[in-house]
Amino acid sequence: MISAESAAVFIGSSIRLATPLLMGGIGELVSERAGVLNMSVEGMMLTGAFAGAVGSWATGQPILGLAFGLLAVLPVALLQAWLSNTLRANQIVSGIGINILVLGATTLGYREIFGERSSDEIPGFGKWAPPFLGDIPVFGQAVFLQVWIVYLGLAIAIGTALVLRFTAIGLAVHAAGMEPRAVDKSGLSVRGIRYGAVTFTGLMSALGGTFLSIGDIHTFTEGMTRGAGYLAIAAVIFGNWRIGRTIGACLLFGAATALQFQLPAMGVDIPNALLIMLPYLLAFLAVAGLVGRQSAPASLTVPW
């Protein structure tokens, strides 16, 4: 029998583990809607995680770490945008190249900067629960006591949904992915929109990455994103390029990851490997078309 306490812990950790995916996923969604596929979400997240950890460790201020993470991702995002738009490079290949480059650079940077001090705790963000919600018995603390970035992420997700649906910016982004020619005819710059969208992906991914390093576990490890960026992309496909469903997919992947810790704690004997694999397996089944017909933006991966 599952107790209310363990259910609450499970929900709380699902949300926590879904947060980096959610941020990367929202960012990637906007960019894909504008017609650019960034395989480099993984690298952008890793950049944010690394720079956030370095900034926080060097200044002792996690908020400066966060700022540092967001700044550091800009060159990466602009490189991706330049490759995908101006140079018309293969978006998939260039994204994978960026991921390899970032993995190497952050690993090297980590060893050089932290070296033997690698076991030092890096200052990170504290947790916070919204008033009233945090006072709910059993669930209040377990579910709602989260690093404030979680709430920031939710707010950005809602804001993004509103902007995409109700504003001229949302329309322009959507059109850049569906009918770039029409956008061009209307006098807007397709490349401009796409540069902006990729930069947004970078900032969101970096936010997710800093959450991983200085929000969630207060340390950096080499290649710590471990495929979270690819899961974020899978969530966008799973979500059929709609924001509500993408958020749902991220929560599902988060819950699948949370099972890794929850089931053994409940004494359920399931191979650990299967549980670690579960989010990837779900993502695979999702992209395999088990969620119905997919309707990608018409000009996705086609440079303008």
């Binding site: 018309r88 496909i237 695979f284």
Partner: protein, 353 residues
């Protein structure tokens, strides 16, 4: 449109990207405070310093070449197989299972080592083919599916070596490592020469044979022409009567099968036991080798040799001179990014898209 059939500028740009990236790597080595002389000595020791080092580097190159050939083959049909890592892992699992528990060690005619290899090819082909079927049936982007399948395969391998019911060696005491038993001697790949100081295994001639056959298929046969037609314009290819879906699946089966074979060579030619981290990035390196080759099998061989020796040298530099292996990774990343971006300058010489 890729003007792959004009090797001139492509090769120049590939060479230029590699040279620039290696130079940057050297600068990095200097920046982290390692003497360049020490690093170069270590690099030479690990690559061409001895017959053993040469053979080890070539054996590595062979693995990269197989994955790269598969990549180029599928890429001709405009399919991007980034699942080499998973295909290697599955190949390793299958080869281990058959070598240890398939009762093959006593079989004559080389079947003792050939059957595990065949099993690995089948397992890898399954993994690649799955992505191909999804591509044609559900329109799933093969990059995403092969990548996710890679993560799944790597954890499958982890599961296999952690579970006593699967491939983990019997626990004799608490210190028994989570890895498989060593495969029987007769299932290990025979050496090309009888000289154990030059441990080149039969993977080398086998891979060269495959390279020649694939190159002929791609350049001479109708198969290559049809694959290219599918890659350039699937709709027109279908109108012309080509069974595009069958070719797409076959191309992914082929790419996956070669990845699986690469896994078998790693297991039966080098590692002999299956353990966590078995594929150790060889699949991704093979992908880079495939990219670097810009569509030509000769290019695959050249870049596979480059990467095999680069990796050996990288390991040696890490052990002997304390140069982090991340430097080699950075070099690889720069090469891929540079080549992806350089397509612009190559294409601009021809008609624009």
């Amino acid at each position: 449109m890729n003007r792959r059939y004009l090797p001139g500028p492509g090769i120049l740009i590939s060479v230029g990207a590699v040279v620039a990236a290696v130079l940057l790597g050297i600068v990095l080595i200097a920046l982290i405070g390692v003497s360049i002389g020490d690093a170069l000595d270590a690099f030479v020791d690990g690559t061409i310093g001895s017959a053993y080092a040469i053979a080890a580097s070539v054996n590595r190159s062979v693995v990269f070449a197989l994955v790269g050939i598969g990549f180029v083959f599928a890429n001709r049909a405009n399919l991007t197989n980034v699942g080499g890592e998973g295909q290697i892992a599955l190949g390793g699992i299958a080869a281990t299972a058959v070598a240890l528990y398939g009762h093959v060690a006593e079989l004559p005619l080389g079947l003792s080592f050939a059957l595990p290899m065949l099993a690995a090819v089948a397992a890898g082909a399954l993994w690649g083919g799955l992505a191909g079927i999804l591509k044609t049936r559900a329109g799933t982007n093969e990059v995403i599916s092969t990548l996710l399948l890679s993560f799944i395969a790597v954890w499958l391998l982890y599961w296999c070596v952690q579970s006593n019911a699967l491939l983990r060696q019997p626990m004799t005491n608490s210190a028994t490592l989570p890895e498989s038993l060593e495969i029987p001697d007769l299932t290990k790949l025979p050496l090309v020469t009888a000289d154990p100081s030059l441990p080149l295994n039969i993977g080398l001639p086998l891979t060269l044979l495959i390279a020649v056959i694939v190159a002929m298929f791609l350049t001479r046969g109708t198969v290559g022409l049809r694959l290219r037609a599918i890659g350039l314009n699937p709709l027109a290819a279908r109108r012309a009567g080509i069974a595009t879906e069958r070719y797409a699946v076959a191309a992914m089966l082929m790419a996956g099968g070669l990845g699986g074979l690469a896994g078998a060579l790693m297991l039966q030619g080098d590692q002999y036991v299956l353990k966590d981290g078995f594929s150790s990035g060889y699949g991704f390196d093979g992908l880079v080798v495939g990219l670097l080759a810009r569509g030509s099998v000769t290019g695959v061989i050249a870049s596979a040799l480059l990467f095999g020796f680069l990796r050996s040298g990288g390991i040696s530099m890490e052990l002997q001179a304390g140069v982090p292996s991340a430097v080699v990774r950075i070099i690889q990343g720069i090469i891929v990014v540079a080549l992806a971006g350089a397509v612009y300058w190559i294409d601009r010489r021809g008609t624009s898209r």
